[in-house]
Amino acid sequence: MARSVIDPVSRIEGHLRVEMEVSGGKVTDAWVTGGLFRGMELILQNREPADAAMIAQRICGVCPISHAHAACFAGEGAYGITLENGARLVRNILEGSQFLHSHILWFYNLTGLDYVDPTNALSANVADTYDLANAAGTGNSDFAAVKKHLESFIKNGQLSIFSGNWFSRDTFNLPPELDLIATAHYLEALQYQAKASQISGLLGGKMPHIMTSIPGGTTYVPTVEKIDDALMRAIEIRDWVANTLIPDTLAIGPYYTEALGFGKGPGRYAAWGVFNSPSQKPNERYLPAGVIDGKFKLHDVDESLITEYTGHSYYKTESNLNPRHGLTDPEFPEGGRDLEGKYTWCKAPRYDGKPYEAGPLSRMLVAYMRGVPEIVKLIDSTTKTLGVGIHDLESVLGRIVARNLECLYIANLEVEWLTELGKAAADPSTKYFTEPAHETGEGAGMWEAPRGALYHFERIKNNEIQDYQIIIPTTWNISPRDADGVKGPMEQALIGCPVDDVEKPINALRVVHSFDPCVACAVHVNEPATGKHFEVVTNPWGVK
């Protein structure tokens, strides 16, 4: 038996540590630790709902728009108002551009390096690379120039972001030509995620941290010129996702079919729904609300069934409360982290007393079971192409496929919404803002971030916040054990994950990244219980 720790987990947002018990080459137990406490809920006390929307989005620089919108919906619930159609469209577009940004960045630039080895691309044959790209139906690049660039980069000897990498021919399966294609697209992806954020900038002022969404609607009356600028970018992104990201997914997937065999979480899925249709009803959203229980049965969401347990988290009071009556009283334990007791800043949210997974897989499964036609078509055709069933999606590879299909679905919608807004903006009677009906009340914003179900709740009196609670998607996923000792979704997903090398548990890293955790957290592999020391890993060229 050995301990394996990844701390910090890189290529995520935040500080996360993962500690695992490894026996017989597989993970037998796992503890996931969120390493940072900032206290957003406490900072929002006594402020105004509009300020809360501005401040709360700063909880996360990757999905600020989702937080701004969940805060806005909570404020609008308290104000007793419904959005005007113009504001609904602007919010969908802002949210959509952020999803596109986040999904593109995640696939190529964050989790991508768990599967793609750019150093292996050095031995690629350039002519074969073009043939392979054409056969895979994916985008061409100047592969010769990218290869040459890689060569001179490595000759220079400074590995920059590749310092201390875990690349190995034993665990990275792609042929050099596919590694070269994916490396070229890694660089392209950086440009396309920026392009997606430019849409957020055009309608939101800047990204990260948009400026225009406040309770009541949007402060901006979009001009036709800005909408055109955004539409041009949305079309480019849609075409790139359809012609590069999706074919790459289908080309890389078959080399990692083992990733279908591990990483299943609790097998329960929660989605609060995102992207309002004109009815603005959660079950009719473009990605609708719903929960799938342990028997794979779909239910409507019931907010009163949500609780947060704090017994294993760094909080004074052990409680298990609905967030409408939630409590945030942080306290780091005197004895430090204790895996038997308190070991994380993260609370343990449960739905109907059970852990639920949040994220694109949950959203896509809920949309599939609700019969959203485009989603049914996408999932059916993809599972057919890959020769797998719907339940195979409950895995590491399944999460990747679900997220990338969702990216394509949203890329198409983004163009539709911008076209619709272009027409609406030409009509001077289109409205974008609604004044509060009253200034005392309470409301919950149940929405989705790219990483999954997001919940903001606020209670206001005379426009001043009396109570604010947030449950972010990653809190669902990296939740610690609950009062019954039941592990959180990521902890469950790690169990059974193959680990050949406790010092470089690459498959565990793949599991963690498949959730796209957003905690400013780090996954650490602890000192091996065997007393074995970590091998000192340096890059062959030395760090300069």
Binding site: I161, S163, V221, K544
Partner: protein
Amino acid sequence: MVMPEVREAGLASYLASKGVSRRTFLKFCGGVAAAIGLSSTMGPKVAEALEIGSATGKLIPVVWIEAGSCSGCTESLAQAVEPDVATLVLDYLSLNYSETLSAAAGHSLEKAKEETIEAGGYILIYEGAVMTGWDGNALMVADEKGTDALIHAASNALAVISAGSCAVDGGWCAAHPNPAGAMGVQKFLKQNGIATPVINLPSCPVNPEHIVEVVMNFVLTGQLPKLNSNNEPELSFGQLIHENCPRRGHFENGEFVYEFGSDEERKGYCLYAMGCKGPQTYSNCPVVRWNGKASWCVEAGAPCIGCASCNPRSSRNNWVNNNAPFLQRFHDMHVGSTNFQPTTLAIAVTGIAGVAIAAHGFGMKFAGRTKGGAPIETESDWSKKQPKAAEAPEVVEDVQEGGDE
């Protein structure tokens, strides 16, 4: 001028792979030169320095640490367009440690950081607030307190760039009641007797152009840019947002937005009546703009919330404490070192047309269009609860464990 083998270096071929011609590259280098205050005729020199660096393994190593952060500043850097983030971290610099971008994880990544620190000669970019709560346990990375990691990494660095408002003075993390004891890097290092120079780049998130400016300046000249009394680059933070605001003309004419979603907003009138903090916030936002110059806050109809205002000496004077409620017209308008009391402002606004207030090199005129808009508060309910820090910015603050209450 440039040796042939250097011309074959990574950067040139990389740019060629992206369809960037040498001519365009030189033009870009001219832009970089201008951005850091050199004559644009220095463009070829800039090109040479960049190319030689990328050909000889002499790129400046960078350690990028995320502390009490939302990763938004790393994200913001990823939105840089000229140069884009790939060029920046692969060809201009060697980014040896970044929790968000590094391929390595866990102890391998920590090792890369450690080797870089031992070798010295690197720049530390620090994102997020220093979290001092619970004796530094509010942030743990690799089983090390975030505060210890900062002391270690900063001690041997050539310079520390505090990227974003949280790193500068605690930012929103330090907003009342400052639950996790957040503070800025400059003050923290001073308290711990570390003399490494600190460059402050406030705004939430950091503007990638500001990072590029400082870093390129250092790469090319080996010098830090000229700094003001807040240790911000003078070039970027020397002017009020108001001074360069494209809606300034409407301000002069007394044409204001009084309601979101209104015809006035459609016409792009001035947002001062909606609480815009542009007249008291120093930054060149209207010039550098955001997201590849696609837009910026005021252009998108959003009143400035003053996220670039900072006070590196006091985390109590972070931008949230000083500027919220954001959409209230400011009760106490600072222009440079002059404070306009609400009464002064009220007189000006309530119709003495043509009252000109000349301060800090700019004049403004209210033309009497004064109906509607947010009320001018004598003092907000929120402010009444706050310590009167704005009046004593030099106050030395003791950050207590777990908060400031």
